[in-house]
Amino acid sequence: MDEALVIAAHGSHLNAESSTPTYDHADTIRATGAFGEVRESFWKEEPSFREALRTVDAEEVYLVPLFISEGYFTEQVIPREFRLEDWDPELWDSDGTSATNATLAAEDTDQTVHYCGPVGTHDSMSDVIVQRAESVTGDPDVGDGFGLAVVGHGTERNENSAKAIQYHADRIRERDRFDEVQSLFMDEDPEVDDVADYFESDDIVVVPLFIADGFHTQEDIPEDMGLTDDYRTGYDVPTTVEGHDIWYAGAVGTEPLMADVVLERAADAGADVSSAIEQVREETGGAKPATGD
């Protein structure tokens, strides 16, 4: 029997566009034919986490959370709502940014579910952040003379929320591509409000590590950074703030290359999708997959 990919995303009761990146990435993967079925599922929309598996014909399912960090949603909500028997966060053996995958049975459908870590903590997410910077500047070689700010929500309920942001900021910094790389947060220090204080570079690309554009990425962050007094009037890209040109990218999750991260998660769990990964990287402007380790 065919294998299916089920993407688990947050969705929204209020914002019609919250689901859009999920649909877009699912469509990209669907078009590769790598899976017999590709299904979107949502915490706040339908099909719900509770009922997505029963709409899938395949006996074997790769379940990939379209979430940024590991923690409450990936360790409690999703396994519970999908009724994954004998789930234990220890199965991922993660330090907060190193989730792997676990193979479990779904209690209500008996399907075999390869439950993968979230897209946000996969290594290839660093590539998506960089690509987002390329997209917003229109420069495939962006880096020299630029600072990069990776922005996250902050701790809230979950200490891993900040870890994922710092993890990718560190990885990108090590590449020496941007003059400076800094992680910033909405509700803790260093705060995104003070973005100009944290960089010496004249140009700063700001990439929020969010799955979908919504209140935080479209209203709070642009206003907090001083790109605009009122998000409804919009802002320019770049906008000059305190002598720096701020290139605000909007949610990283809308970058087409995100589809690659979803596939990488499934591949790590054993899905045979290498040609789909190649195809998606080609279509979405990602780098060629590295050969060997």
């Binding site: 929204s12 009761h13 209020l14 914002n15 019609a16 689901s19 649909y23 469509d27 915490w43 706040k44 929309e45 339908e46 099909p47 719900s48 509770r50 009922e51 997505a52 029963r54 709409t55 014909d57 409450y72 409690q76 909500v77 519970r80 209500d108 309920r157």
Partner: protein, 358 residues
Amino acid sequence: MDGEYVDALVATAPDGIAFDDLHVAHESDGYTFQTPDVDHSGIDEETLRTVAAESPYVRNWYFWHATAPQKADRWAFLRWLEGAEQRDVAERYDALADGVSATWGELHLTVTLSDGERAYSVRHRADADVGTSALDTHDDPLDAREIAKHDDDGGYRPLKTAPSLQTGWAFPALSAGEFVTTVDAFYPATIANWHREREGELDVNHWRDTVDRQTGIYGVVKTWDRGDGYEHVNWVAEACCDDSQCLKRREWQYDEETDLGVDGGSGEFPCREPCSLVIAGARQWTKLEGETSQTYEFELTPSEKEQVEAIIDAVADGEAEDIREADIYEGANRYRARFLRAKLFDDEGNLGGVETEQ
């Protein structure tokens, strides 16, 4: 195409076929081929091929085994649509020639037979009699996701089964597989749950089960249940789950032993547990209902009391926007409401000048 179903029949005959009035077998003296119209036995393969090629029973068998989606619920749904359990093949094919339709929520579903092939279509039931040329036509089932997102006024629909599906579109020519994908995109999981219910396997999670499962910001809802009373859950169901709000038929109750006191609705497909909107509402109500009542003293004329009731009714029934601008005979008319506010509210917005905190 002709070859396909005949080849398949010949290949399957040794296993025996008994489906929808078609009986085929391969025995030592040759093939038997029986339908309500013909009865052959001891025929050779060439004769079998000739009779099979002309038989609607063979094409019908082939459709259900090679063309229709084989997942049990999708298959049963397609059978239900054309009344396969109520009509024999001959009757069905007569009916299918003119098209057989059914309603699924707000969807108007039709299957038609032309040139021996089934073709499916989906549109809003309000558009059932509208010419297809007057509708925006689609052929990609996943377009349904976008159509389902907004109502006719452009408002976001967080609940797919709310009776607010926009009109003006059609999927005029779908294959069987595309058809079930389309229906499932408009109303996710309704086919699966409908089928489970028909099979006696619907896994209902009642209010108590669902609330007990909640964590995080929704964990507070557990505290709303106190003692044996469940009147508050009746109010939730009346507010959110009535047919005027959701087309699923509510099958969940307070708990396994305790049915709620309000009607679950008459929808074709069941609702098996309180949805995320109900839980989000319940979270807010848990907080609000934690307040204790106070006695406020206002003076209202009888008409003003009735007007307050009319305004609440109009908002609750989604009719406030339908009240005409100059229809000052309606209590929920905008001018009437503004007059009431001008007369009864003080500068701080307190009704009757009475402060909320006393």
